[in-house]
Every structure is written in C-alpha cells, then in structure tokens.
Amino acid sequence: MQTINQTARKIPAWSLYFLGLVPVSFLVFQLFAGNLGVDPVKRLEHELGEIALQLLIAGLAITPLRTKLGINLIKFRRAIGLLAFAYVAMHLAVWLFLDMQLLLTQILKDIVKRWYITIGMLGFALMIPLAITSNNLSLRKLGGARWRNLHKLTYGAALAGGLHYVILVKGWQVEPMIYLGIIIVLLGLRLPQLRRLKLA
C-alpha cells in the first residue's frame, strides 16, 4: 500500500489527461490504417463506449480503494471523471454522425422509443453537470457538501451506462453482465454509508 501511495504521490494528476487520450488516438490511427475490421464505425462506437464504462468504474473504485484497502488515488479522480465524460461524448458523437448519419427523425424516435438509447442518453445528461463542475472554482462556489451531493449523480450515470450495454446486445452476453455486475458491487459498497447519511 505504502509503495503504491508513494508512487501515486509522485505522478502529477495532469499526466492522466495525456494517458487518457492514448486509446482514442490509437483507435483513430487504427481506423485510418483499416485495422478496425469490416465495420469500423460500429467498432469505434463500441470501443469508445467500453472505455467510457471502464473509466466510470475506475472513478467509482477510488473511494472503496481508499476506505477498504488504504490506497489513496483521490487526486486522479477528477481526471478520470472528465475523461469518462469525454469518452461518453465521443461515443455519442460517433453514433450521431457516423452511425446514424444525422438521420434526425429516426434519432429522435430512437431516443424516445428505445430503452437502451433512452437510458444511455440519461446517463450522458447526468454527466453534464458533473463535467461542468469538475473544477476548483465550482467546488469553492458550491461548497464541499453540496458539491459532493451533486457528484453522487455519478452513481446514476454509471448504472445507466452498465444497463445501456446489457440491454443493447442480442441475448444475454457475458461481457456486459460483468460490467454491470462490477458497477453494482461498487455502488453496493456505498450502501452502509448512504444509510448512515439518512440516519444523521
């Protein structure tokens, strides 16, 4: 634990933004190199969504890592959260522009009618206020308690992301279930804490 914490202390948080851009750069490179398979757009859309889910999970893991295992990575959480938002936004952009090709009537119908798209859009919407307030100024203006309460929206966003994936696939597939399972466990770890909050 000590070594992890000491190493973490030496790594500046801003370096994560650069690290976070590596996967998308790699994907774009692969796209133009023709290495994303027969349906590159779907692949790009899927990969971006999956990275977003992984980042959401990483963000949710920060607190339990500290409270349960004593690993303190809290200074990276903002970068992880903002990167998660960036990947969700790119995932959505690929859907709108490259997949649906701005077929507006069908897009609007899909958002209203299709469960997994509705849930996905809801998750994205929940992340907007989080992204906007992920800076020191907002933290100061809102005050710690209010800011922390607002940022509990992350729970909803992660759950929406996990559900979105499970519902969209054909049949019951293992991988989306694993993502949703991890998210549920990470949220479950917070239950005692939430209960205490209510009692207080």
Binding site: V38, D39, P40, V41, L103, Q106, K113, I167, Q173, V174
Partner: protein, 266 residues
C-alpha cells in the same frame, strides 16, 4: 478462378457484392462465439468433410444422406442476393447454390407437410461457442412450406464461385433473402418436413423480439431498435440506406403473406 461451375440467375441483384473479406470476416455464428470476428477466428477447426444431412419427417425418402449425394445433379447457380441482418446492417452476397424446392421434390415431401424445419450441427469440441449456453443448442430454424418452395429460397454451398468459408455456414446453409439473416440457418445437418410450426431458436429465446416469420419489414420495428434503415457494410463508413419491404423482394414474395397482419406475424 472459380472452383464451382455456376450458371447466372434472373434472381440475382445488379448491386455490387461486398468483398469476400467483408463477407467472411463479419459473421453472426454464435456456435463460434458472439463477436462478429469470432467465426472467422475459430471456425477453422470445424470438420466439414465428411458431412451428412438427415432428412426425416413427412417425406417419401427419409434417410441420412451424404452431402455429395444431396447435391449430385443439382444445377449450381450464382445468386447475388441482398442480405439484411436483424441488427440493421446489410450486405450484398454472391451465393452459389440450388433451390431448396429441388431437394424437397427429390425426397418427396408428403401432402400433409406444412413446414420445413432445419437444424445446425451440434459439436461443442469443434464449435467452441457451444461450450457456453448462449443459445439452447442445436440452432433451429424453419419455414412455411410455400416459403420453402419459393424459387428465391436456396441451399448454398458456395460463395464467390468457391466453397463456402466455414464461418459462413459450410458446407451447406439456407439462404432466404427476404427474411432477416438469422433465418438463413448455417451448417445444416437435419431437414424435417412436418405438419406443425417448428420451434426456431431466436423465437425460443425471445419471442417478443424475434417472430417465426421475421420478414424484413421497415414498418415493423424490433422492440429495441428501428428497422426503418440499415447500414450497408463496406468502406470506412457504412452508408445508411432505407430498408426495403421484404428486403427488396416484394414482387416475388408479397403474395405469400396476402391478408396476413405483418405487425402480428412479425
């Protein structure tokens, strides 16, 4: 150089077929995994020779036939068909095959038979996807007799003038171009004539989403996504195009469903 001698068909589409690379690297064949690239990766170990097909039920000449005997004397045609997946993507594929009706006539379908049922091979040691229970194996499909006898319905043994790649359902698969792709069952080992509507795999898994008919129909959406448009696979960005009624084969097959409510019989 084409390996299989074929004749051209009036039923072929004039659209440009997808590349062999596209067709053989983007497959839904859950017997080898649920990823689109899994079949190309894992189908290699499938033994397709020897291959026999059991033909049973209400036929005059039931039996287990060697594939070579089944195809002997059949006129192999090239059929360039539009292919539409229920997942709203599409391709154009130059199949090699013969009409299912020729085979059914050869084995003598009895007058009481109303449906034809099909089954895919179940061999988990070669079909590694069958080691998990994504689907109640074996994969099953079926057609109403008039659908089975329609000249558009073929049994395919090849692609681009050559044998079928294993990931595309070698050595023998069904192709029903006006229905969603999952109706076109792959690697067939059993064909049964019956008087009862057969159980079909996706319908067994989720009847609300996948009907027995599963005709391509832009006006009847899948509960989770629209079927109004489709992405034509090929190139960097698959172009979105409108989905055609019966996948463009309305003239040939609309008559089969006259008077039927296609919203109910989806």
């Amino acid at each position: 150089s084409a390996k299989i001698a074929t004749v051209a068909s009036e039923y072929s589409s004039s659209e440009k077929p997808n590349s062999l690379k596209d067709i053989s690297n983007y497959n839904n064949f859950y017997e080898f995994g649920t990823g689109k690239g899994d079949p190309a990766k894992y189908a290699g170990r499938l033994t397709v020779d020897p291959w026999s097909v059991k033909i049973d039920g209400m036929v005059d000449k039931p039996g287990t036939y060697d594939l070579a005997d089944l195809t002997k004397g059949m006129t192999m045609e090239e059929r360039i068909y539009r292919f539409r997946c229920v997942e709203a993507w599409a391709m154009v594929i130059p199949w090699v095959g013969f009409e299912l009706s020729s085979l059914l006539q050869r084995v003598g379908v009895q007058s009481g038979a109303k449906y034809i049922a099909f089954e895919t091979l179940e061999r988990p040691d070669e079909m590694i996807g069958q080691q998990s229970r994504t689907i109640p194996w074996p994969y099953r499909e079926g057609l109403r007799m008039d659908e089975a006898m329609n000249p558009l319905t073929i049994l395919a043994t090849g692609l681009y003038g050559d044998d079928l790649p294993k990931q595309n359902g070698a050595p023998l698969r069904l192709v029903v171009p006006w229905k969603y792709g999952f109706k076109s069952i792959k690697s067939i080992v059993r064909i049964t004539a019956t008087n009862k509507q057969p159980e079909t795999s996706w319908n067994m898994i989720n009847a609300r989403e996948y009907g027995f008919y599963s005709n391509v129909n832009p006006t009847v959406d899948h509960p989770r996504w629209s079927q109004a448009s489709e992405r034509k696979i090929g190139g960097l960005i698959a172009k979105r195009q409108e989905t055609l009624m019966f996948n463009g084969y309305e003239e040939e097959v609309a008559g089969l469903y006259k008077g039927m409510d296609l919203k109910k019989n989806y």
